[in-house]
Amino acid sequence: MLESVLVANRGEIALRVIRAARELGIRTVAVFSEPDRGAPHVLHADEAYPIGPAPAAESYLNIAGLLEVARRANARAVHPGYGFLAERADFAEAVTDAGLVFVGPSAATIRAMGDKTEARRRMEAAGVPVVPGTTTPLASADEARRAAGATGFPVVLKASAGGGGKGMRVVRRAKDIPGALAGAVREAEAAFGDGSVYVERYLERPRHIEVQLFGDTHGNVVHLHERECSIQRRHQKLVEEAPSALLDPAERRRMGEAAVRAARAVDYVGAGTVEFLHRDGEFFFLEMNTRLQVEHPVTEMVTSVDLVEWQFRVASGEALPLRRRGIPLEGHAIECRITSESPFEGFLPATGVVSELEVPGGPGVRWDGGIAAGTEVGLHYDPLLGKLITHGADRGVAVRRMRRALGELRIGGVSTGTPLLARIMEEPDFLAGRLSTAYLEEHPELFAADVPAAGREALVVAAALLEHGRRGNGTASRIRRTGRPLSPWAHGVGTAVPPGPGERR
């Protein structure tokens, strides 16, 4: 097993990786930008080192700085998490060139799948179904218009270096191509430093279903069943589940086999995901993510596999602990992403200081968070505060448990998407498993900022009593807080502060 690892990330995924490493006895080295000095991933690591100011380009994306910390802390491996440098082939290369183990696939694999047009070519060659579109970046609006005409509208413009919905635009009319292309290029440039954009046929109302893969250095590749992530807004996933409510066993098998073919085509090592769009019984390769996914916990809940543990085992040269027939699929799991966004104000990013954090508990509930009371939520990084995951014997139990858990989650001081998620857990189409990537657009009623469940009357009473108490009527007087633990030993024998030499009391 690896002796130590530098976790080149922040937030909940850094914490997730640190937890797995801790359990394996791997020494953990965290890095932090200036505003993250007191972040949970710093507190939970064995060691932590500063890597620069707030902008990611000068800290979490600074390859030389990260390698310098690895050298200084004598870390033997690097785990990239997701986002930041996780899918940057040059980073994987720099890590291995420095004599360290990169916890992830080879630079060559990352490069092949990171170039979305190249990936489409390789998948076609491997016999994996692909959505019709271009396999080269677009040179101009005119070329985009021609390519779109050939595949037929609607189309989607996508960043070649993309992922996570950044640099992506759906276009329904030829005349909207120039504006959309400009926006996509601009966003792609900003997000990935690469403005290449290509065009693909846009499938209306598809379902987003993806397969979790794992490969080892001994040539084994397995899949760990699928996840459904159809509930998205702006191509950002919001709710994920495993298994899909849609697939029957035959379809599940066909999709799993296609994913394994895709992985073998690029000699895949480590954790990866093949994303498919599914519509009317057909499925098409969308992209392959050569890293851990945000939503990996739902797979962990139904398979009882710790995917990050597997990443470390594979990176240590071990063979996969389980082969395909041995991987269970038990019950159903749901994940809700808890983000600092105001769902009733057009998903505006919200900032502030987390003044209170109360995490749900009890059976079948998991919280993967990256915040604590006192954490400042700014605008420099991803708005993901944490993930709430529930597991139950079937989808109904998992959903009811999620509803219960969302009700227990309290994050004070920062607006989150929690109330929207709670509504989704009661919405009839969701409950029936009638999903598509257009789900949120087709359910505008979920975004109506109406009266909370508590009811207006109760809120009016609360407001009146709060003001009444503030005016000295004492209704809401604070509980006395002392916080000093009690000791029977006032002093002397068993004294609280032992006197130093020459000092007596």
Partner: protein, 182 residues
């Protein structure tokens, strides 16, 4: 003191504005609270973390966070929602209402930058009337473009930002007036 109480018991009277409505509330000394004459048995207690409170109304239990603002303003966080409320004592509320009726003037409504960022697009012109949900401006932050939308009908009176401009959090970007009074 000239008490405004009418009944035999001493009660405090408030006017609560919340979620677009205005209610008269009487708080008695015995845990009884009347909202527009509807009587409730209620109790509020500090509970849980710093701003946490437990509210019981006729037995029903609600957990909420409450933050105090200026002059009787409160922000209630409940069910993951933030609900602003204003509580005035009944007499002060009456004075306000009278002075408003005597010729209070509407203040200028404005759209402010919710975060530091880069303006990448302005979708409105001065004089234009917008409807609820119309995109007004696009600001890039955290590598995502954020559309700032109009939550209600209004006329754009001034546009104070231009594409390419870096804006600070809180900076006024657009000012609005009543839709029917340009």
């Amino acid at each position: 003191m000239s008490s405004p109480a009418k009944g035999p018991r001493r009660v405090a009277r408030y006017v609560v504005s919340l979620l677009g409505e205005r209610c008269e509330v009487e708080v008695g000394r015995d845990g009884r609270v009347a909202v527009e004459g509807r009587e409730h048995e209620a109790s509020l207690a500090a509970a849980g973390p710093p701003h946490g409170h437990s509210l019981l109304v006729d037995g029903s239990s609600f957990a909420l966070l409450a933050r105090r603002g200026h002059g009787g303003e409160w922000r209630l966080e409940v069910d993951g929602r933030t609900i602003p409320a204003r509580v005035l004592d009944a007499r002060r509320a009456r004075v306000r209402e009278l002075s408003a009726a005597a010729g209070g003037r509407a203040e200028v409504a404005s759209l402010r930058a919710p975060m530091p960022g880069l303006v990448v697009g302005v979708a409105v012109d001065e004089g234009e009337v917008v409807e609820a949900g119309d995109t007004v401006l696009i600001v890039e932050a955290m590598k995502m473009e954020n559309e700032l939308r109009a939550p209600g009908a209004a006329r754009v009176t001034r546009v104070l930002a231009a594409p390419g401009e870096a804006v600070e959090k809180g900076q006024v970007l657009v000012e609005f007036g009543e839709p029917e009074t340009p």
